[in-house]
Amino acid sequence: MSLRKSLYAATAMGLISAVGASADTLTIATVNNGDMIRMQSLSSEFTEATGIALEWVILEENILRQRVTQDIATSGGQFDVMTIGMYETPIWAARDWLVSLDGLPDDYDIDDILPAMRAGLSHEGSLYAAPFYGESSMVMYRTDLMEAAGLEMPEAPTWDDIAEAAAAMTDRDNNINGICIRGRAGWGENMAFITTVANSFGARWFDEDWNAQLDSPEWLEAVTFYNDLLQNYGPAGAANNGFNENLTLFQQGRCGMWIDATVAASFVTNPNDSTVADHVGFALAPNKDGMDKRANWLWAWALAIPAGTQQEAAAMEFINWATSKEYLELVAEREGWANVPPGSRTSLYENPDYAEVPFAAMTLQSINAADPNNPTVDPVPYVGIQYVAIPEWAGIGTSAGQEFSAMVAGQLTPEQALQRAQALVTDEMEAAGY
């Protein structure tokens, strides 16, 4: 028997077993974030209503990304629904790896999706991933500490305001750090934040011919500012702090300010988890004095269907359920409006019940302030605010992120970190054939 024949035989055997195991069962890959875990616990309602059984693969963000990317790039077909972000969606859709969601029923009301989210999750006019929740970034600060310091946070602060407030609130003896921001390496961790700072300082990743621009004076100014903030007013071990670590610190009352995802607002104001729930204020992400761009990012965790799944119809049905208006109401009914997955639908922000949630208005305002098609002061050949929507970005962002993380740990100066980042970005772009 030739190798080809035996491969076919084995494939056939494999198919039989695969089909046998997956009839009417959806395998859903998702992140272990609170909102998704809530979705999992509510999903029995979906199964009851439709008879479609669900297999959950819930993984930590980095592992999830690695798994779904590997699977989609090789057409592994292990998942029927994948949780992906705004970065992956247009790239994968362009490769025909995702099923278009045009087939969602009318009462899904696709036009209700926030325009920024819809734009970021579409490719050539079709939606390819339905936002489960969306976010921008904003400043979360301690109203009590600001008051004690005799300061007032403007609704739209500048970086100078932030530095001033951070200096005033820092109280090392009482274990209070003026500001907590991301330092942990990763394209979705520190580089998301640093890139928004750079944007607001007028820097950009690439010029229009895809030449890396990290050697520009704007980058140096931005990175130096970021580094100084953390060195002077940041928590110990900031180089290892990502979203979760900072969330924990803020909830424990150890941060005066935290600039991060808008979804965090519901966690820091939840009295069950947060010791400072009653003293949190919100402001827009900062800009540099005299410049228009704010350090807002835009992100959505969205549900997509990989092309080639045997369960397209059932997968569509699930997405219709999980990202619907009804789902938002279901969560509101069970857990209160503050815990509804935010940032996906216009109707949510028009709902008077939701308007009473303290962070609703600022979240919407922040999302609307972000423009992924026009992220920087100078023109760029890419879309994406806190990321560059090219396949190489994940690699570039993470390697560069490690240099900046080493800088925060005090092992490199901003100049050195930028120099190294510039070199390795140039290198990777060359390897990818730019």
């Binding site: 494939t11 494999g14 690695q66 592994g76 969330l247 966690f267």
Partner: protein
């Protein structure tokens, strides 16, 4: 023991050894203790040791979120299956190398061991593509095979060193009694080799149980073992030390218990030919 020691000396030994033993064991003990605390107690400074309100809440949460028994069952099948399968291949191989050595034996043995040095990441893509072709992704069979293959060199090596210690004269005596090859293996060698076989199996179960690269990359839901279970607790939002501890305890408890109960067997055979 022939050497006589004073009670003082013995006491001193005991104190030092217990101190070091507890120090080494401490991270595990602390994890188990933390799994019974609330999240706030888990990070309390000064730390709380034994006197807190013991709660099973974390275990309840973890169980509610993940179907622990399925992960556990997959781990059992994969670790056990790969071990049994591996033994079926390794025992004859080790036997033949130990009792019918040729000039190539040593080279073959060392070559086998060198396959163990293949960096898994380097061959992930090829393996993944092959698995897709064969429809083995997310299947227990596929994972069992892979784990069998990666641990096979260690198994052969361990068994070989064991078999080699069995004196050849016994075999010759058996042969003179007219024993065939089959009987020779079945009635003469096997009983003598049981400690070696037992400890090889135990070591292999431990290695397969703890393997975290292939088990994570080749599974999704159906075949996912405990290494995948723990990957969903590594950094959730907010405080999570207590939940992480509960999940960790659940992931390591079965193998810890098996290991402890069978440590005599494990230790007895765990020489890799280190003892002559």
């Amino acid at each position: 023991m022939a050497r006589s020691v004073t009670t003082q000396r013995k006491t001193l030994n005991t104190v030092i050894a217990w101190g070091i033993g507890l120090l080494i064991f401490f991270p595990i003990l602390w994890t188990i203790l933390t799994s019974f605390k609330t999240e706030a107690q888990a990070i309390a400074d000064p730390p709380v040791w034994f006197f807190f309100d013991w709660t099973l809440e974390n275990y309840r949460v973890v169980q509610e979120r993940s179907n622990y028994s399925r992960f556990l069952w997959n781990s059992v099948i994969i670790a056990g299956g790969s071990t049994l399968l591996g033994m079926m291949v390794a025992i004859p191989a080790a036997w033949s190398m130990a009792f019918v050595p040729s000039t190539q034996t040593k080279n073959i043995l060392l070559w086998m061991l060198s396959t163990k040095m293949l960096p898994a990441v380097g061959v992930l893509y090829p393996i993944y593509l092959i698995f897709i072709q064969l429809g083995l992704l997310d299947s227990r069979i596929g994972l069992t095979l892979v784990l069998m293959l990666i641990n096979l060199p260690i198994m052969v090596w361990m068994l070989y060193t064991y078999f080699k210690e069995i004196p050849g004269e016994i075999l010759e005596a058996a042969r003179m009694d007219g024993a065939g090859l089959r009987q020779e293996i079945l009635y003469v060698l096997t009983p003598m080799a049981i400690p070696g076989i037992a400890s090889t199996m135990l070591l292999n179960i431990i290695l397969a149980w703890n393997e975290a690269f292939w088990t994570l990359n080749l599974t999704a839901a159906r075949a996912a073992p405990l290494t995948a279970f723990i990957a969903s607790y590594s950094s959730p939002e907010g405080l999570f030390y207590a939940k992480l501890s509960a999940a960790s305890t659940m992931a390591i408890a079965p193998i810890l218990i098996i290991g402890w109960f069978s440590q005599k067997q494990l230790v007895r055979g765990l020489t890799f030919g280190a003892v002559k």
